[in-house]
């Protein structure tokens, strides 16, 4: 339950920002998510409330400020306040700059994106692959002639993902100038119906690895390629990265996806994607996964959807069905579940998706 202090805080913030908004034309939007989760493994019932408040302020046509505040309270009445994103956009004739805590979405694949180098995911979230964590960064995009875009990113400090399980002896990456991360991407749009990108990254692997009794985030360089377009009416994409580890004991390797999507005239939307990642050491197996997604509107305003991920090595299947019931404009009740069937409880995919559960989520957007 939300305690009274938390509610007062929200009310005060809304009051302050509403009055400020009237004076300065500050745009306020956001969402309220109320989750009720039942673990089907142990029958434990938990609830969680999350409020997102997004404040946007334009400074003429040249600059914009964006703040995304998150307030979360869980079943233990433990509340937390986060700044999910806070950045300044500055536009010049040929360049767009974004400075501050932000989410940098790279890659065309469906949810599992090898060239998405910068933002870690929150494994404790209800939908881990949808919850990226913001990183402090400077991003610049130069728009060159002939539909060419050149993007550069600098991330001064490494941000690790929120893990669902505690990893013993996990060594954090120090906040040090030598641990700065950099990336670039060159994108060519509309090249014979395809968008092509070539990218490079210098930084750390988001997934820790066991190294001499300790878990570390290994330092690496990556080169990547990304292509999206359509063949006939079928959407196709592929992403490919090659990781070069600085630690010679680790194996350099390939990480790739290949996917297709199609939407029928009855609005059934289907995605099929294959994922492959080479093992990073002799003790780590290659990861081969198949990813399916479908969604379809029912009775005009409601929707059914499902994700299925199958991991071949651990023979793990993750099923995420969901029904979205639209109660009114911008108010939705989501009823869904996560079902994990695995022959290996220690598989990384099991840790990522957590536990078997059913949930309801009331989602109000304003």
């Amino acid at each position: 339950m939300i305690d009274i202090k938390f509610l007062i805080l929200i009310a005060c913030l809304l009051l302050i920002f509403t009055s400020t908004a009237l004076a300065n034309q500050l745009e306020i939007s956001g969402s309220l998510k109320s989750d009720l989760i039942v673990s089907t493994d142990d029958g434990k019932l938990t609830d969680q409330e999350k409020i997102n408040l997004v404040l946007e302020k334009g400074f003429g046509f040249d600059a914009e400020m964006y703040v995304d505040l998150g307030f979360r309270e869980d079943y233990n009445n433990k509340s937390a306040t986060d700044i999910n994103q806070i950045y300044l956009d500055y536009y010049t004739n040929k360049m767009d700059w974004r400075i501050g805590k932000q989410i940098i979405n790279w890659g065309s694949s469906y949810k599992l994106q090898p060239t998405d180098y910068f933002n870690p995911i929150d494994q404790t979230a209800l939908k881990p692959l949808d919850e990226k964590i913001g990183v402090k960064a400077v991003k610049g995009i130069y728009y060159a002639p002939n539909d060419l875009e050149i993007t550069g990113v600098v991330v001064p400090s490494f941000k690790a993902g929120k893990l669902s399980t505690v990893i013993p002896n996990l060594i954090a990456v120090e906040d040090d100038l030598k641990n700065i991360q950099e990336g670039f991407k060159v994108t060519k749009r509309s090249f014979r119906g395809f968008d092509l990108s070539l990218s490079g990254y210098h930084g750390f692997d988001q997934n820790p690895i066991n190294n001499k009794m300790n878990f570390i985030y290994p330092k690496l360089n990556k080169i990547g390629f990304d292509l999206i377009g359509d063949i006939g009416e079928i959407g196709v994409w592929t992403e490919l990265t090659y990781a070069l580890y600085q630690d010679e004991e680790l194996d350099n390797g390939l990480n790739t996806t290949l996917g297709v999507d199609y939407k029928w005239s009855n609005d059934l939307y289907l995605v099929i994607q294959a994922y492959y990642q080479q093992g990073r050491s002799s003790s780590e197996a290659d990861k081969k996964m198949l990813n399916f997604h479908f969604d379809k509107p029912v009775f005009t305003f409601h929707q059914i959807e499902s994700n299925v991920i199958y991991e071949f090595e651990s023979e793990t299947c993750v099923l995420e069905p969901q029904f979205n019931y639209s109660l009114a404009s911008s108010i939705e009740l989501q009823i869904g579940g996560t079902y994990i069937n695995s022959s290996n409880e220690d598989a990384l995919i099991t840790a990522t998706f957590g536990q078997n559960r059913v949930y309801t989520r009331l989602n109000i957007e304003f």
């Binding site: 939007s29 969402s31 536009y91 767009d96 989410i103 979405n105 790279w106 065309s108 995009i141 728009y143 875009e149 749009r189 509309s190 119906g193 395809f194 968008d195 999206i228 377009g229 359509d230 006939g232 009416e233 079928i234 959407g235 196709v236 999507d261 199609y262 939407k263 029928w264 005239s265 609005d267 939307y269 509107p297 009775f299 005009t300 305003f301 639209s326 404009s329 911008s330 939705e332 957007e365 304003f366």
Partner: protein
């Protein structure tokens, strides 16, 4: 004298027949006339949408759209409300009969190229597909269909439109054209099995900047029982639109 009379009558006959033949328009020429009468070179419109489910539930949406029909067709649509879709934007660039479509979702924060199969799907939950929007938005739809005249009377033409663009899933369309003002008054959409699927009824016509414009357009899905009503609330025609609006860069701003 008799020879002159025969010659004169023959000339009059030839002239009358040739005039009659030239007055008989083909289906494509009728579409071209509709295009001249309704399609501006550029347009900016603000639209209000009402979506009705088969059980009568109502949802409202509003969006703005820019379109440039000079040379290659370019269109950009952005949702203004409600909060669930606010900021969602679509960019469509037609180059040499190849259409590139981009979608920007604020939640993702990135621009994504979308496949052409999406053009036959619902336009963000409405009864319109992306392709259908060309019919009411002044799009260059006449090149996507082969038109023949089914019926002609004093008031109207009834055309049969067969898609020539393989991306359009309808078997054919039946279009009623007002012969006096050269705008459509009704369109029936027949699905791949040849069954009536949807009916579009534009109404409340007004001539704006020389172009006939329907202030209200209703798309009724006969098979599903749902309907979408679009009201044109703000219309600006033939005013220069900055080309930067039709870029992936602008889509995310």
């Amino acid at each position: 004298m008799k020879r002159y009379l025969v010659l004169m009558i023959s000339c009059i006959c030839v002239f009358t027949i040739s005039t009659l033949v030239s007055a008989q328009l083909t289906g494509q020429e009728v579409l071209d006339k509709v295009k001249i009468s309704t399609e501006p070179q550029t347009s900016y419109v603000k639209m209000r949408m009402e979506l009705y489910s088969s059980s009568g539930q109502l949802r409202r949406r509003s969006l703005e759209g820019y379109r440039d029909n000079q040379g290659d067709d370019k269109a950009m649509n952005r949702f203004l409300s409600p909060a669930t879709v606010e900021g969602t934007s679509f960019l469509s660039l037609d180059k040499d009969n190849d259409e590139d479509m981009y979608l920007y979702l604020p939640a993702l924060g990135s621009v994504r190229k979308i496949s052409s199969s999406q053009k036959n799907g619902s336009f963000v939950g409405t009864d319109f597909t992306y392709n259908d929007l060309n019919l009411i938005g002044g799009g260059n739809y006449n090149k996507d269909y082969d038109a023949t005249i089914l019926v002609e009377n004093d008031q109207e033409y009834i055309l049969k439109l067969v898609p020539t663009d393989s991306d359009i899933d309808y078997k054919y369309l039946k279009m009623w054209i007002n012969k006096k003002e050269w705008h459509m008054i009704k369109v029936e959409f027949y699905d791949e099995r040849g069954k009536l699927e949807k009916v579009l009824t534009p109404e409340s016509f007004e001539k704006i900047a020389g172009y006939w414009t329907a202030h209200k357009s209703t798309m009724e899905n006969i098979q599903e029982g749902s309907k979408t009503v679009i009201y044109m609330e703000e219309i600006t025609y033939d005013k220069a639109i900055n080309d930067r609006i039709f870029t992936t860069r602008y889509l995310s701003r």
